[in-house]
Symmetry: D2
Subunit: 225 residues, 4 copies
């Protein structure tokens, strides 16, 4: 491979997506993270930050268009997980939707697959344990999570991994859940939170680690139940 080709590959973009506020919130930390990282350059790669609608019907269409337009090497979709305390690196997306609340378009699908005739689940293709180790080494609280729920976040993670497998099998992708922002937590009794600055640092570290890591590390980090 020529140096010019190498450089071209090295400079392929990283896509970071966030969601519009939902569930009565006026903020969404994932939206702020995507906005903050948009236009940045991490380890030589331009970052495209984009916002997805929190809607079952439109989220994957918008994501698909972003994948085609940007041809990213790495995609991290980010979503808000109100009530969680730490950065949650999601391991797996399930081919199932069961919406406890309506989405932003008023839809509430129950017990339907994300994509008919697709596999029952996709595992994140991000090097999650290297990312976890990197976050903890930088003093950022993080855990691996075994479930991204059954709402739009899980749907987008599933759809992302499905589309990547079909369109860009060499690209890596996955999903990261983040806590409430402090100002959101003031409106939820005793809810944990994390500052936007910490979250941006966390996602930057995740991207750097994912770009720098080939095979993932292996150390015990699972839940017993």
């Amino acid at each position: 491979m020529t140096t010019a080709n190498k450089k071209k590959i090295a400079s392929r973009p990283v896509l970071v997506t966030g969601f519009e506020p939902f569930a009565g919130e006026i903020d969404n930390p994932s939206l702020e993270i995507a906005r903050a990282l948009d236009g940045k350059r991490i380890a030589g790669h331009p970052v495209v930050g984009a916002i997805l609608p929190t809607e079952f019907r439109r989220s994957l269409t918008v994501l698909g268009a972003l994948l085609k337009r940007n041809r990213p090497q790495l995609v991290i979709a980010v979503g808000q997980a109100g009530g969680r305390s730490q950065i949650c690196l999601e391991r797996v997306a399930i081919n199932l939707i069961d919406a406890r609340i309506s989405d932003n378009a008023g839809e509430q699908p129950v017990d339907v697959p994300v994509i008919r005739d697709a596999p029952s689940a996709y595992f994140s293709t991000l090097p999650l344990k290297a990312m976890l180790q990197g976050l903890i080494a930088s003093g950022i609280p993080a855990v691996l999570s075994q479930s991204a729920g059954l709402y739009v976040c899980n749907q987008v993670m599933f759809g992302l991994l499905h589309q990547l497998q079909e369109l860009r099998p060499r690209a890596r992708g996955g999903f990261v859940h983040v806590p409430f922002l402090p100002q959101q937590a003031t409106r939820h009794y005793n809810a944990p939170s994390m500052t936007l600055a910490t979250m941006i640092q966390a996602l930057t570290l995740c991207i750097e680690t994912a770009l720098a890591t080939g095979d993932d590390l292996h150390f015990a980090a699972g839940a017993t139940h």
Copy 2:
């Protein structure tokens, strides 16, 4: 189908499995449930209650032998989920093991599949929402759960659904996590618990509902994250 054949099918056994105590516990509610239901008859079906070793290597061999010997129409594997408050009907098993602690044989596999070349996940084939509705109607606290963890419980749920699909595709199967027993909770600061009597009533209801229900109900019961 002749009446005799019908009767024969109707009387096929129900298999309920529990686990040996693990993680330093001297009790395991799932073991007590399996013992209590063993030999009972529910809706005309004999119940076989059996104990699985809490060991990655042996659990699925023992389960496989039980399936072959008993040829059950319905299988519910039960496991202890210390820290959870309610009966947890598990939706999905993941083809991944990441043991945070050693099993009872001292093994601690990390980041390996339950079964190589098997699907990424299996969904429970139990009518979970009918079971949830039945439990709640009887005053028993219950929720659907999106993750059975990445330890022996998830391994057994995955292996069960894999084996059923291959050997007994018409049989239904799944996994139910139960809280600590009260006496266990006395040794865990502020941990929730449930009495054995309530758990036995819950599993009996689950079996009755699974035997009586064709297509499952559909109402919203998912987690948003």
Copy 3:
């Protein structure tokens, strides 16, 4: 003291109070406990079980009348603490009301003392550590609690200890918080619960221990924060 007098003292009643349902609940475990124990005899003492209104204005008047009528040797007021997992033996009542929700009469006092010119707090005069040890030895999950809140439960505990000190300084009294009943927990997402039978056993044990114990035990059971 003559044997007749001793017997008379020995047979003085035990008063157990519960509350009417509140906060939209249709049940209250404390009410069921008081009803179940009413008329029972524990260690030779008749038990009077009575119901207090969940109202700031009337609760202490009703309690005062009960104390005067029954002249109990031991008083345990019981209240519901939805969300807690275990039997909570309350250590202290605070001379402060700050009602987050209205009481059953529609009153919502904020930042007022329970009793003007009374001490800032009263400690339970029950042998809490002996009771805790007795509960745990019987397999009933229990903890000591550092706060009974700032609602009607704390008000009743404070008023009880104030009235006992003035009227019946030799009588012992205190407050026990109990979790939701299972049927209540079915209406609260993932809430812990305890069966009425376990709660009745717990309160019976508490009464037996309080009647049989002179000086309390001393072992570490505090919260660090």
Copy 4:
């Protein structure tokens, strides 16, 4: 009063105390807060930040010396409450010690009063609701707390309010519990945290509000149990 006298009063110091790390931690956010604020000037008042030993025997002696030397107008003692999610403004200190773990000197007193013959409890004399409102208006998650535990934090809060009442009855004082720092939370599974910058902003706001507020606000903010 002359302008010179007024100025002298206006410039009386604010004392902020933190604790040495304890319970196996290598950090303590309260220590960092006290260090960061030491030497600052808030609303014209010099801030003295000082560190207390996390020891039952020495903490109150050191605190007493600080009060005598600095003659503060306002004292806020700060302590770490690992596991809590938000800034916790403590309402009340109890005249009781029950140490679940040894202090930094290896002492573990159980069921003894903080100060013999002192009242059963002291209420914070800080304008807690004005402080709560100020924090929330600034987007900082905060709650009122009904218990500071029964360890060194509660002891120091009790001793502080006792000493202020005797020595400096016009000075205001109280206690604020803060969550783990992010780097601490990385060593505690799924623990909530708060950045030092947010905590310093929170304490600065608390001091400003306490200095600027005469009578406290009154709005409902209590716990029901």
